[in-house]
Structures are given as structure tokens and as C-alpha cells.
Assembly symmetry: C2
Homo-oligomer: 617 residues x 2
């Protein structure tokens, strides 16, 4: 028996015919709609909330995870339900993703290797039989041509675009001329048009994040940024983090192709949408640069990632590579080029190379420290002669994962707290009602509670008896786990109850301890003192919202560096854009890769010791 | 009603179901079989002879063109018959084409831009996580890779070829290694294999003639020529000469695609067959160089040729161009390259540039003369600072076209004559029974008859009364045209009657007069005396068989140059092979093109005068 399932999100609606018993989360994930699931559909993380009508009876895990109000209005966890009737499912609006798209323009010299030239070619005569292409090559200073451009030349010569393109200076003595616009890469004519219908010469840079894709569209003639767009990485339906996605490919020969196709489709949609924002098509995009972690770039190429996931963690490729668009099934001008930034290792990806390009780490005679905080924390420490890099498993807590009330930096996320003995102030993204806590909020909250002594140096929540009354009132035990209920329903005006649990604090300690231990190991490897580190760049979405002094307070960054911290925004996107505008940076990116030593920490005893000792505050 | 038509040629047989009334020549031309037709199916040229069973009643033009013996055994002209019953059709064996394939090896330094390198890469370890590609790039000195080679690397890494490829020196202290064979172009890895299964690194050069295709297969590692093959250019079914083929595209939007597809199919078949001769597949071919006249190269790219056919005769392109195989649908390694030699103009093609490369015309401080004789006669005169070139319409008579008993240089063609007052000696190709006269035979015959006075200086056949008795006996009038029946049936032991008619002599005069007039004009343009011409190179199939003194006797080449004539064989094939082996010659070919001035003769009054005066012997 089959039922009709209507799914809607952000005003978009689709209808599916589904057999009895089908898993709801699976149906949603197979669709175009995005619904996160950190626990992989085990009813633990509570992230797959949807509104169902008619509402099915709530199950036990839902009664624990959802508020009574939520259950009453029909909120359920999609992973716990199967199809047993017609259903209307509403997925909460993903909203505008509040990631760092870097609206600011990057600064680097403009030398993309592409140009558009206007050529005035003379019409042939009986005593000037030079071929049409000879005329184009002579004016353009070119020596080769893309087949497609030769097709265009044929069309122009045959007047398929009408009499346009004739030069206007057909006066008495000058020869008859035809004006063309040629898109040129090096000495190659890649595209040709009649000069009165020139096209745009656009380039795109994409930061392929595990969670989000950010698209930048730039004018390669002026270097100006024309549009930015972002989207979820739809590979999320195969797992929130890279390891889960790699697992999807194990013993599943089609798995890697699914990852590839999903990503390629999203990239193409993003390119189409971003180009459309400025009234262009993807045919106007001639150069595309891509940054992303090593596994993202492997999935983009449909290459096996299992070898990255298991020791000795070796990628198939880590080089800067250039491809024709068709080789990757990407939608840009077929004569264009796709350039992948080089990666350092399996867990220090091209996004980190892009970070380095953007921040200048590896350029200076002084040591600089780069920390990219996401699910993994990638850390690089170096100067112009040598760079050391490592990757630590920070876990998803900075991105809202595995935190009871955690959420991504979306509207409604509490992104800052001020903690007092008798009060709690906070702000939310887009000033919406609080719906959860994102990474920077969590950092503020834990740092603040640490300062007023409610969390101890070892990370334990105090017994309620030792708390000020304001906090004592908020103390609860949830399934025998100590917790603070931050907003009681009436108080917050929000629709959700927001907690901080002892488990949340432990998750947070693991993350910050891993990052700090990584910094310590790199510093030891470089054999320098902390004072010799002149700049600290925090990159990644979470890093941009956090309060630098709080990062030092909780010990994630050494205290002595607190006045040297700069928040560098979306470094990967900035580096990819710089590479887009200046192809000479390809050489620099190669050099950065070559002078970076990757340190493997998984079996490094010193790291284990540091990690253990750095868990405390 | 439909009938079964069985067509066979050279032992190959195919069966077609065809509707009543279908044209037989059309059916044959649409098939894979080759049957020439100079007159385009008008029953005039008599070239489309086939053997039919059961034999239909002979029609009037057949009674004139075919011998009674031929009619009796069932020979008919395919163009005159429609399908009215089941038929078995046998097409005369095309035989081995006796064109100049140049079995000799060309001499030039070996620098094709391609190499195969053997790499020993170390297996990764936990503390050496460099990617597999990094290892390959480091050993190979490369910076980029073809997508397909990356696929191969993935396969090798995943052990899809089994445990082979492991280095044999896995002794106690050295690291475990894997041996690979990499095909490299410049700094790009184009292909990768396990070292114990290396492939060949082959290159192919093809001379795309209007009538024939010649394939050369060379080993790019040693420079050795491995195989030669040849085939008819199957575009012949659309017309024997280039102009007829261009006419096929007029008002017929699919025409140019038909020409392209026909040629591409034949090129691919030739590449497959030639590679098979040495036990290889086309995947082993990485570089392909192509010479051919301008219209052939335009049809190869599917580009409109009509602008070449009408004033001001301008080609779309004439440059040296490089393409990926897929752009031209050609079967070689997909990562390989196809290179077109540059043309001079619409009627002085890349075959002439190749001729120049092969003969060295344009290299020397002394003037040299190049004459490529085919349907068109292309002539170049120049030295290292300047070259002049022109094209004259010689007509197909040198190739056996428009000559009553003319035929291509196939087995059975009379390729030399000795003419005496009372005798006629001759030789045939492959010593077969004489079936017709090819160009060199015609030259000998007319030159000989001229010497004994049977043909006058103006080209008229004498009245029979003025002839020696031996020749008087051979005199006939065919449809009021004077003719000599060279072999009476019994005498020749052949199956055909072979004539020379007054019309044949006129055709021949047009051809030789045009070539000589071209030489005169170039000499005037260069403003030199004939004595200043140090070498004369005759190239093209006909040129190689002719007797140089006879070429001077009939006045095609100035008498004063008779001791400076060299027969240079298939110059186009030789030039294409040189370009294949040494990519630096691409630069030289460009220079040759640039220093060559093309002279348009179609409206050149001086040429018209020369032509008229040079028609006489």
C-alpha cells in the first residue's frame, strides 16, 4: 500500500508516493530537502525535528527530547517514524546560512590568465585570402583555438548573427572590417563573439565545506566581486561529518559515485544560481577555483577516500590540479578551466592552503599561527622557510553538534552570553527568539560559568548548593546528568527549552583540549617559544564569532597570545578567490604545500599527554 | 516490394534489403563498398562497372562504353540500373593501392614531446603520508595529470591489477616500492600503468588525400616506422574531386556532416587497422599529425568549405592547430593530441607545407621549385627568405580521370610506354593484364607519339594517312572523335579495349599547360631566371612514376631544369611523419606558412596568356 507524503521547506513543496513502512528520515534525505542528522537516525541527537500532520503518537525518545509544547503542535523526530498514512511534513526553515561568505573583496593583483579582447578584422578580398582564423590570430596574438570558438567563428563568418558586428568605420578608404570580442587564455582563443554582443568574462571560487558550499562570482576583467551565494552541502544526507560519508562508500561500490554526483549537482546548481544573480549564465564563467578539505576534493573527483580514513591516511592526490570542466561534469564554459587548490595531507586540506594564502602564513620571516576550527581543527605554525601543520579531532561541538541544545550559526542561535552571578545576558543571530546555542555562544557560556565558579577547573558543574541562587534555580538533572536550564519557557519567549549539561561541557573540553594540544605539539616541533609567535589567525565560521579573550580564558589558545589574535573570516573562500584572480598564486600555493610538514598525531604519545592535560580549564 | 541485394568486393560480402526502383549506385555508395564515379551517376564516365547476376538487359550507354565481351559476362554500369529483382553484385577488387606510402624512414631528430618513463614509487607509511600522486609527480618531474591517468593511478593503488607492479628489490632495508610506467607529455602525466604491463608509445601520421588516405605508424620512443597502410578516401562517393564534394554541401545542411563523418570513420578504421598490424590498439597512439589539402582538413572538422570554393576563396582556418582527440571524434588515446599541419591558402594546403618540410624547400639560400601534381597542381618556388606558391587546375587526367581509358595507379594500369614507329611496348603495375592507363603512362604515350610525329605540336592527332602502318591500323573514330585503339583484344590478352582519343590529348594539354603556366608566373613573381632554380622536386603519386625527361619533353617542366629534377615521393606523408617525430618542426611549419605568398591566378591575365601559350607541346 502506498501513501502520499507532502514535504515542504522554505516555501518549497514536493509530493512523493511512498510504500507503507518506509523510513521518514530516509525519504527526506533522498529528496532535495535538507534535514540534519548527527546520530545517523538513532533518535539520539534530536536534530531531525519536523512538523507532521496528522501528528503520529509521540514515542519515548521524543517525550524526552522534545518539549510538551512541541509534541502538542506536532513536532516529531523524523528518524523515529515510518510511513503509515498520508502525511504532510514541514521541515523547519533552514534560513539564510550565517556562514562567513566574506562580502569584502579580497586584495591581490589581478592576473587571472584570462582576458577579453576586441578585435577588428578586415574582410577578405581576392588578393588577401588569409583565412578568417589567421586574421583573428594576428589581431589577438594567439596561436591556438578551442573547437567551440572555431565553431563560433564559422557562425560569425556565415552571418548567422545577422549583419551585426560590422565595424562602423566602413568609410570611403578604409577596408571593410568586422569587430569581434575574443575570450583569450594565454595564447588560446577560447570563445568568440560578435563585438556588439560581447559576453562577460566571469570567474567563480567555491569553498567546498563539509557542511556548506560558498560560491563567489567575480568579474575577471575588473576583479570585482559580483555575487555571493551559499548552500548546504547536500552530501550531509550521507552523514554530517567526513568520516560518516567515507563509511557510506565502504562495501558500497556506488557510494563514492553518489557522493560525487550529489556534490557536483549542488555545485552546478550553485553556479547557475550565482550567475543568475547577475543576469549571466554559466557559459560566462571561464575559470573556477575550488578549495575544500581533502575528502571533499576526493569525492568531487569520485575518488576512493577509504585510504584517507584509515592508517596511514594517504590521499590519492594532494596536488594543485587543473581540469577541463567536462572532466568533472561541472557547468561552466566548456573551454574554461577548473583549478583545485593543493592539499597538505589527508586531514590538512586545500582549505588550509587557501587559509594560508589569505592570511599570509608562510610568507613572513616571523612565526605565525593559523587555527581553522570546525569539526576537525587544523592548525599550522610556520614562517617563510618552514611550516608545520596538524589536524585534531575537535568533534562537532563548535558547530552545534553533540551538544544538547547546540545548533549551527543560524538565525535564532545564541551567539554570545554574558554570565553574571545573578543574571544571564545573551544575543541571538538576527535577533530572533533563541532556538539553540552555536559554538561562540557555548564558548562564552562555559568561559563565563568558569569565571564565576559554577564550572570548576576540571570542567565539573558545581553541586547546586554551591551556586548563587540565580543559578541554583536553573539546576536540574536530566536522566541523571547534571544540567542548567538556561531559559525557562516563559522567560526566553522562545519556543524551546535550552540547556547546558555536564555532557555538553565534556564535549567542549575534548574539542578545546585537542586544539590546544595541537598548538603545543607544533610549537615544540618548531622548537620555538610562544613569544616568538607574532600573529594568530582564527579562521572558520565559529572562529569569527568567538571572543578572542574567551578563547584564551578557557585555554584553547595560549594566554600569552591573546593580544595577537585576528579573526580572519572564511579564509578558504578568500584564498580561493585570490587564486581565481591571480593564477600566479598557483605557484605560491605549491610552495606553501612543499614547505609544510604534516605531523601525524594519531599515534603521537606527546600529543596524547598534552591532550589529557589540556582538557582542564 | 523489397529485394535482396548482395554486394561483394575483395572477398567481403554484405546483404541489403532494398525497395523496388532504388538506384544501384546510390545503394553501393551508401554502403561500405567503394565504387568510383567521376560523372556523378550520369552514365558518362563508365567508372562504375560492376558484375551483376542475373545480368539485366544492357542499356544504350553501356553498349557504347563496354565491350561486347564485358556485356556478355554481366558487366554493367551501376549508375544506369535500378533494383527490379534480387541481385548479386560484384565490385571489381580495388586491389592494393599503388600509391607512394614511403616505406623508407624519414630522417629528422627525435623530439616528439612525448616519453614513457619508469618510476619506482615508495609505498606510504604513517610518517610519510605524501599522496600517491605526489610520489608520481616527484619521480616523473610532472605537474599535471589527465583525469584518465588519475583513474589509472587509483586502480593501481587499489590493487585492481593484482599484486604485480611491486618492485623486485623489496630487500631487507629498502622501503617497499611500486614500479609504474608513465606516459608523459611535457610535464603532464597522460597515462599510467603498472611497470610490468607497460604499453607502447606510438604516433601516427596520416596524409589525407582527396583520393587516398595513407597511414604511417611510428614508435615515438625509437622513431622507428612500424607499419604503413592505405585506403581510399571514402568521401569519393560524394565526388571524385574536392569541388564536387563541396557542391554536395551546397543547399544541403547535412552535407558537410556527411563528409566529416565519412572521413572520420575511415580515419578511425585506418588507425585501428594500422595499429592492429603491430598488435596494438589505438589507445597506444598518443600523437597524430595530419596533412591534407585545405578542403580535406575543413571537412575533417566539419567546417563549411563553400567559401573556399567561391571567390575570394577564403578558408575558415589555415593555421597549425592542435586538438584533443575527442574534439574530432578520432580514435587514439583520449589524452593524446591531434595536430593539423598549417595550410598556405584555400588551394595550397597543409600537404604542400608538409612537402616543403620534407624536401627542404624554403630552407636553402638557393631557389627551389616544388611541384605537387594531382587533380590540382600546387607549385611553390622559394628560398629561405621568401616563397611564392600557386595552385592550378590540372584536372583529374593525371590520375586517370576524364581520360577514356584512364585509371588510378592500381594493379593493371599501364604506367609506362615506349612508342616506336612500328611497335608499342608497355609495362603495367604489378605486371597484371592492362586494364587502363595511369598518369605516367599517359605522359609516356603522348610524349612518345609526339616524338614520332603522330601527335603534332598543337596536340592534334595526325590524319591516318600520315601515320606509319602500325599506327594506321590502330586508328578509329569513336563517335566522330579521332582515336587510337592501343590494344586490340587478342593482342593485349587483357579484358578491356584501351584507347587514346583526341579528347584525352586535349585533357592532358590542359593539365600540363596549367602546370607550366604556374611555374612561369612564379618565376616572374620571384623575378629570377630559370637558371637560378637549383632543384626541382616532383611530389605526388603521378610524379613518382613519370620519366623526368618526358616531363620536360612535353613542356610541363622547363627543359633547362631537366637535370635538376628529383622525384620526392609522397612529400605530404613524409612531412607529416617528420612533424610527428619532432614537434619543434611545428615552429618551422609556421614559419614556412608565414613566408609564403600565395598568388591567386584565377583572374590573373598573365597566367591566362601563359596557359594558352603553354598548351602546345
Amino acid at each position: 500500500m502506498s501513501y502520499q507524503i507532502t514535504i515542504s521547506q522554505s516555501g518549497r513543496e514536493k509530493i512523493f508516493q511512498v510504500e507503507t513502512g518506509a523510513d521518514l528520515l530516509e525519504i527526506i534525505n533522498k529528496s532535495d530537502f535538507y534535514l540534519p542528522s548527527y546520530c545517523g537516525g538513532q533518535g539520539i541527537c534530536g536534530k531531525c525535528r519536523v512538523l507532521m500532520r496528522p501528528e503520529p503518537e509521540a514515542k519515548d525518545p521524543e517525550r524526552e527530547m522534545l518539549s510538551s509544547q512541541e509534541i502538542q503542535v506536532g513536532v516529531r523526530l523524523a528518524c523515529l517514524h515510518q510511513v503509515e498514512s498520508d502525511l504532510e511534513i514541514e521541515i523547519e526553515e533552514g534560513g539564510e546560512i550565517n556562514i562567513l561568505t566574506g562580502e569584502e573583496e579580497v586584495s591581490c593583483s589581478l592576473s587571472p590568465g584570462w582576458q577579453q579582447s576586441y578585435l577588428k578584422i578586415e574582410e577578405p578580398e581576392l588578393y588577401d585570402q588569409r583565412s578568417y582564423l589567421t586574421r583573428v590570430f594576428e589581431k589577438a596574438g594567439c596561436r591556438s583555438i578551442e573547437p567551440r570558438a572555431l565553431d563560433r567563428l564559422e557562425d560569425i563568418v556565415e552571418g548567422k548573427f545577422g549583419p551585426m558586428g560590422k565595424g562602423s568605420d566602413n568609410n570611403s578608404r578604409s577596408k571593410s572590417t568586422q569587430a569581434l570580442a575574443a575570450v583569450i587564455q594565454d595564447e588560446k582563443v577560447v570563445d568568440l563573439r560578435s563585438a556588439d554582443r560581447p559576453g562577460r568574462l566571469l570567474g567563480a571560487a567555491v569553498d567546498i565545506g563539509t557542511t556548506t558550499l560558498v560560491f563567489y562570482l567575480l568579474d575577471l576583467e575588473s576583479g570585482r566581486q559580483l555575487a555571493v551565494d551559499s548552500a548546504y552541502n547536500p552530501q550531509k544526507k550521507f552523514g554530517a561529518d567526513v568520516i560518516t560519508r567515507v563509511q557510506h562508500t565502504q562495501g558500497n561500490p556506488e557510494g563514492i559515485n553518489e557522493l560525487r554526483d550529489t556534490l557536483v549537482k549542488a555545485l552546478n546548481r550553485g553556479l547557475v544560481d550565482t550567475a543568475a544573480k547577475v543576469g549571466s549564465g554559466t557559459d560566462d564563467i571561464y575559470r573556477l577555483t575550488l578549495a575544500g578539505n581533502t575528502i571533499m576534493l576526493h569525492t568531487l573527483l569520485g575518488k576512493d577516500c577509504e585510504k584517507i580514513a584509515r592508517s596511514p591516511f594517504v590521499p590519492l592526490f594532494s596536488e594543485q590540479l587543473s581540469f577541463r570542466p567536462e572532466a568533472l561534469s561541472l557547468k561552466l564554459n566548456p573551454g574554461g578551466e577548473v583549478e583545485l587548490l593543493p592539499s597538505i595531507s589527508g586531514y590538512v586540506g586545500a582549505d588550509i592552503t587557501a587559509d594560508m594564502l589569505a592570511t599570509g602564513v608562510g610568507d613572513s620571516p616571523e612565526y605565525q599561527l593559523l587555527i581553522d576550527i570546525g569539526t576537525n581543527g587544523e592548525i599550522a605554525l610556520g614562517r617563510n622557510d618552514k611550516i608545520y601543520a596538524c589536524s585534531v579531532a575537535a568533534g562537532p561541538s563548535f558547530e552545534g553538534g553533540n551538544i544538547s541544545s547546540g545548533m549551527a550559526a543560524l538565525p535564532g542561535a545564541v551567539d554570545s552570553f554574558k554570565v553574571f552571578d545573578d543574571d544571564l545576558e545573551y544575543t541571538t543571530i538576527k535577533k530572533e527568539k533563541p532556538r539553540g546555542i552555536c559554538g561562540s555562544g557555548l564558548l562564552d557560556l562555559i568561559g563565563g560559568l568558569l569565571e564565576i565558579g559554577i564550572i570548576t577547573e576540571t570542567g565539573a558543574l558545581q553541586q547546586p548548593g554551591s551556586m548563587p541562587e540565580f543559578w541554583q534555580k536553573r539546576y536540574q538533572e536530566l536522566e541523571e546528568v547534571k544540567a542548567l536550564k538556561l531559559f525557562s519557557e516563559g522567560e526566553s519567549q522562545g519556543e524551546r527549552e535550552i540547556y547546558l549539561t555536564q555532557k555538553d561541557i565534556r564535549q567542549f573540553q575534548l574539542a578545546k583540549g585537542a586544539i590546544r594540544a595541537g598548538i603545543e605539539i607544533l610549537q615544540q616541533e618548531a622548537d620555538i617559544s610562544k613569544e616568538e609567535i607574532k600573529d594568530v589567525y582564527l579562521v572558520g565560521g565559529f572562529a569569527n564569532y568567538l571572543a578572542p579573550e574567551m578563547a584564551c580564558r578557557i585555554g584553547m589558545v595560549p594566554e600569552v597570545l591573546s593580544d595577537r589574535i585576528q579573526q580572519a573570516g572564511n579564509g578558504a573562500g578568500a584564498g580561493a578567490r585570490m587564486m581565481l584572480l591571480n593564477r600566479k598564486l598557483a605557484e605560491k600555493a605549491r610552495e606553501l604545500k612543499e614547505k609544510t610538514s604534516y605531523l601525524e598525531l594519531s599515534s603521537n604519545m606527546k600529543f596524547q599527554e598534552e591532550f589529557t592535560s589540556q582538557m582542564s580549564f
